[in-house]
């Protein structure tokens, strides 16, 4: 049966939609690019790193299509001031401890909406005279589907605690509200079925979130030599107890804990300790020990050297205090 010749959009309208999509996709691409450096977790870094290029290609495809629709190439246009406000809110979380908020904004709010919007556009774009736009939308839908699945995996990994889930819920509710108030990315109202379930796809297109998580969590135990293990444990216990006499036993001659470091250590009570980094520097070892308590945590970096009487601390630095409980 022949395809219908009736169309929903004029060329002008179609160009406007593409500029609107390009506006949010371009801002998202630049935000993801900028966030990679601001995000501590490797899995999230790799996720963003993979998707910046896909989004750049989406922008480029929208931008190249524009002159074919009697519009200027590579132009972005915010549908209305409210969508700019929504994008400002998406870009807002820049602190290192806001990875969950960054991911929620892009992967739980914007991308599902974009996918639904593209699908609705595709369903209405005439197959006889809009194949160029339809091909672009088809590719974008495919990519966004993959991104949503990968982002969901990473969010599940990084946002599993009750506190993180609550932060994600609050942030998502705020962004959902802003997006709805803007009438969606094109300002024409929200698509009818934004919550279509997304099925997992075969992970053969280089953004396998499970592999990113494996790479982040691959180091299960540190290869600490037996003698050093006991020393680390004794030193950390002395740190938790703020026992200066016991601490001095572990310090190499000439090494002292500075006043500022000592004040930081004494700013809260700690109940436990954990080695969070273990590096080699020639024959010496660099060790980060995190002290945890109900009033937050502190990380102490030490450099250990092997002496005639066993392992001793050759240098010590308190890297900073995090007031939130671990």
């Amino acid at each position: 049966m022949a395809q219908p010749l009736e169309g929903t959009f004029s060329a002008e309208h179609s160009a406007r939609l593409l500029r609107n999509y390009r506006y949010v996709v371009e801002r998202t691409m630049r935000a993801l690019g900028g966030w990679i450096a601001l995000t501590p977790e490797l899995s999230a870094k790799l996720l963003m790193g993979r998707h910046v290029w896909d989004l750049a290609q989406h922008c480029d495809a929208f931008g190249r299509r524009l002159p074919e629709l009697r519009a200027h190439a590579q132009e972005s246009e915010s549908a209305n001031p409210s969508i700019a406000t929504f994008m400002d809110a998406i870009e807002e979380p820049e602190a290192p401890d806001q990875t969950v908020e960054r991911l929620v904004g892009v992967y739980s709010v914007l991308k599902p909406h974009l996918r639904a919007t593209y699908r609705e556009h595709l369903a209405r774009a005439n197959p006889v005279y809009e194949p160029p736009t339809r091909r672009i939308l088809t590719r974008c839908i495919e990519d966004e589907t993959r991104h949503i699945v990968a982002g969901g995996e990473i969010l599940g990994h990084l946002g599993g605690t009750a506190a993180a889930k609550e932060r994600a819920r609050v942030h998502q509710a705020r962004l959902d509200g802003l997006l709805a108030a803007a009438g969606g990315v094109a300002g024409d109202g929200m698509p009818s079925s934004p919550l279509t379930p997304v099925e997992p796809l075969p992970a053969d297109l280089s953004d396998d979130a499970r592999e990113f998580i494996r790479l982040e969590t691959a180091t299960g135990t540190w290869p600490v030599p037996a003698g050093l293990r006991d020393a680390l444990s004794g030193f950390a216990a002395a740190l938790v107890a703020r026992d200066s006499k016991a601490l001095s036993h572990w310090l190499a001659p000439g090494v002292a804990i500075g006043d500022v470091a000592w004040e930081t250590l004494c700013a809260a009570d700690y109940a436990g300790h954990k080695v969070v980094a273990f590096a080699r520097l020639g024959h010496q070892h660099l060790v980060k020990t995190r002290l945890d308590g109900s009033a937050g945590s502190v990380v102490v970096l030490t450099r250990w050297t092997s002496a005639a009487d066993g392992w001793r601390v050759a240098a010590l630095d308190v890297l900073g205090r995090d007031p939130r409980p671990a």
Binding site: G34, A37, P40, E94, A277, L281, L286, V299
Partner: protein
């Protein structure tokens, strides 16, 4: 969003220990060790691969910042930087897996942030000159040698993986040359400053004579003249680099 960001905002998981490169080198020398890992043993290859992995991580972060920091740059510039982000993110994965292949782990050696500091240059032209031509040029030298060493020790996994990364790096150098020219068209002073920035980086990464012209087995980092030609460096530039390595300060 803050554009650009201060270099000390670079975020890391706790498992990485960050130190100044000079301090790392001095502490190694004080233990009677070379300041920079050579490729003479499995351990030193592992340490070199760890250093490369961290470099790829910072290269991904730096290219990402270039996508973010220069919204008014030509669109094709953003496209090239976005492509580089994708490439570098795959390189991070490749080197993490190579590290695993060599029996190492992420965080096994301290991380220095010279590369990241170079990637924080405020001018886009300086950034592409310094990162894409200076640092990616260094990557061409290091990876070309690593492919050779991998072949020599019979490690086809290392050889093949690094060979593909090297191909990407050549592309990144070409991007750098293209954008150094395009971004500084009609602005000789901007071009001069960008090139000066790159030359400072080249000088720094000569690592006090560690990088030199010479056989892969004879020098710690061998200048990959053929690969550099392929990447678009001129004979004059290669010659100048070789000359600077002969007068580099000891680390």
């Amino acid at each position: 969003m803050d554009r650009p960001i201060a270099y000390d905002k670079l975020a890391r998981e706790d498992r990485f220990v960050r130190m100044r490169a000079r301090e790392v080198a001095e502490l190694k020398v004080s233990q009677g060790l070379p300041p920079f890992p050579d490729l003479a043993s499995a351990e030193s290859i592992k340490e070199r691969v760890h250093g490369i992995m961290v470099g790829e991580l910072q290269a991904m972060e730096g290219a990402g910042r270039s996508v973010c920091d220069f919204p008014d740059a030509p669109w094709e510039f953003t496209m090239d930087m976005a492509r580089q982000v994708w490439d570098e993110s795959r390189h991070v994965e490749i080197y993490l897996r190579l590290l695993d292949h060599l029996g190492g782990y992420a965080g096994e050696f301290p991380e220095t942030t010279i590369l990241w500091r170079c990637a924080c240059a405020e001018d886009a032209a300086a950034r592409v000159a310094g990162v894409n031509r200076g640092l990616e040029g260094l990557a061409c030298d290091v990876f070309n040698q690593l492919v050779h060493i991998a072949r020599k020790i019979g490690d086809p996994v290392l050889e093949r993986a690094v060979d593909f990364v090297l191909a990407d790096e050549i592309t990144h150098v070409r991007m750098g040359s293209k954008w150094l020219t395009k971004l500084t068209e009609g602005d000789a002073e901007r071009r001069r400053r960008a090139i000066e920035f790159q030359e400072n980086i080249d000088e720094r990464f000569n690592l006090g004579g560690v990088r030199r012209e010479g056989d892969h087995d004879a020098v710690s980092i061998s200048i990959a003249t053929d690969v550099r030609r392929l990447a678009g460096f001129t004979e004059e530039e290669i010659e100048r680099l070789i000359k600077t390595t002969q007068r580099s300060q000891v680390y």
